[in-house]
Amino acid sequence: MSNQNRLQVAPTVTQLAVIKLRLQGAVRGHALLKKKADALTLRHRAVLKAIVERKTTLGEIMREAHFSWTRARHAGGESVKHAVLDGVERAKVRVRASEENVAGVKIPKFFLRDTGAEQRRMELAGLGRGGARVREARGAFEKAMTLLSELASLQTAFVTLDEAIRTTNRRVNALENYVTPRLQNTVKYILGELDELEREEFFRLKKVQAKKKRDVEQAEREVAEIVADDEALRIASEELRAYDDVVRG
């Protein structure tokens, strides 16, 4: 079983050190990613809450704004519409995007910037009829626009965070359920193999020793034999010499 779920490595001590290092890294990475996921989720919930809040007010405000424009048209007649349309030279507000960093995730953030475009033509739109209403409508739409830009930031933040949370969670799960156990199994495997090797070595050493002992014994025995042979030779020769002496003497 553990055979399948492990890395294919040579079971050596160096590999063991490498794998152990990797395991350590994986565990630490897991802890960090978990923390990141938690932070992101927290932020995600806050954003969601803000979105809901904004959206409920937005409906009302947009309706108000549109209706105030209707009022302006009603007070000023058709001409006021064209006066307003043609009175615009440059957009008064522009949307600018910047980035915010939440736990390493870059979230785009939009905000309105007043371009300071001169509204000289607009200023007097509907002077004869309905000018006050036009200004009211402008105020209402400015309010609505601020809200819209906020909502836009929140929505993109929501989507980005959602994506980020999903990848982070995937990574956390991968580390937790795949990478770490695999590394652990590898370590176990290497340790097992190393133990096995050690045992084999021990056995071999023992064998060698036994053989050495046997060799020594045999040598000794041979030596003893030789010695015994020598002795016998000497004795025999002495006896021969004695025999010779007897014969000569």
Binding site: H66, D86, G131
Partner: protein
């Protein structure tokens, strides 16, 4: 004498006028929940059916308003085609207001480089003058000035008030109001050449219009860069409040001050009692329509045509308000914009 020349026109106008939407119609329309209902109702009760027939669902507020406008233009044109002097001249004077709007539209559009079709499309058909297309095509502000001077009845207003060089620098809204002022003054002068009764009635109506013009400019100029001296130049040289009322208006800085000025005039007493600035405007409109109503009660004068056109405008704005309210589901505000003067005596 009057009947021989203008009797038919007057009868025609009165006939059209009796077909204006009445208070009851507005009540019924106010009960509608969708624009389809409004369309059905309008088709059932009035002459609108011819105009509404081609409107395809989904009905938009603009469609209904456009139908109403087409109807008014047709009524007016029929009237104008059969008019003989002095009625024809009188009716021409009525178109000058639209003409000024169209001219300003052309000027504004040209300053912004819009195409001529686009500009002509927006122009009100009542105030079209023959050279308007060529004016628009000329595409040059100086040329426009020259053409207007040569070809249109507005020449006398324009030459008196603005020079060619001012045209692209001066604010278009200012020009519009200067022209309108000149137009009112000229209309007044023209009316004094008409018969006694018309003159009398028209004097009342134009006085009111002049006051209204002044009051609106004053109220609408609060919070803008329009200086008080410029404001004074936009006031007419007649009106019930002329001259000291206008002098006092010129120095006003808040709506309350305007009201204080208004209180001193018996005609505007009621209007000044209103709280909201917008109510003042509404009050003035009601006042205007009421005097138009009184004018219509009389016969044998040209002022009836003026009153008639004012009622047309009112119906248009009422319908626009009504359809928008229904389309935006803001029916609670219905009463805020509708002005119903019961036209049927």
């Amino acid at each position: 004498m009057f009947n021989r020349k203008h009797g038919f026109s007057e009868a025609f106008v009165r006939g059209c006028h009796s077909k204006r939407l009445s208070k009851r119609d507005y009540e019924e329309l106010g009960r509608c929940d969708s624009l389809e209902d409004v369309k059905t109702y309008l088709e059932s009760i009035s002459d609108y059916s011819d105009y509404l027939r081609n409107v395809q669902p989904p009905v938009k507020p603009e469609d209904i308003v456009a139908c109403c406008k087409r109807r008014h233009v047709k009524e007016f044109n029929t009237c104008q085609h059969q008019a003989s002097p002095p009625l024809s001249t009188f009716l021409e004077y009525l178109t000058y207001g639209h003409m000024i709007d169209n001219l300003m539209l052309a000027l504004n559009g040209m300053l912004h480089g819009r195409s001529s079709e686009e500009i002509l499309d927006k122009c009100s058909p009542i105030g079209l003058f023959d050279s308007l297309p060529s004016v628009v095509i000329s595409g040059n502000v100086q040329e426009l000035y020259r053409l207007v001077l040569v070809d249109t009845p507005l020449a006398k207003y324009l030459s008196g008030a603005v020079s060619a060089a001012d045209l692209d620098e001066l604010n278009v809204e200012l020009i519009r109001n200067v022209l309108y002022k000149e137009y009112l003054q000229d209309f007044m002068k023209f009316c004094s050449t008409l018969d006694l009764r018309t003159n009398e009635l028209m004097k009342n109506l134009l006085d009111l219009e002049a006051d209204r013009h002044a009051i609106r400019i004053t109220v609408n100029s609060f919070g803008t860069e329009l200086s008080k001296s410029v404001r004074t130049t936009l006031y007419t040289n007649f009106g019930t409040m002329h001259p000291d009322g206008f002098v006092r208006l010129a120095t006003c800085e808040t709506v309350d001050e305007v009201k204080q000025v208004l209180v001193t005039y018996p005609g505007f007493h009621e209007v000044a009692a209103k709280d909201d600035a917008h109510d003042v405007d509404r009050g003035l409109r009601i006042l205007e329509l009421e005097s138009c109503q009184r004018v219509l009660a009389e016969q044998f004068n040209l002022a009836a045509f003026y009153a008639f056109s004012k009622f047309q405008e009112n119906e248009l704005s009422n319908l626009m308000w009504l359809t928008e309210c229904i389309a935006q589901r803001q029916k609670s505000s219905l009463g805020e914009g509708l002005i119903c003067i019961d036209t049927h005596l």
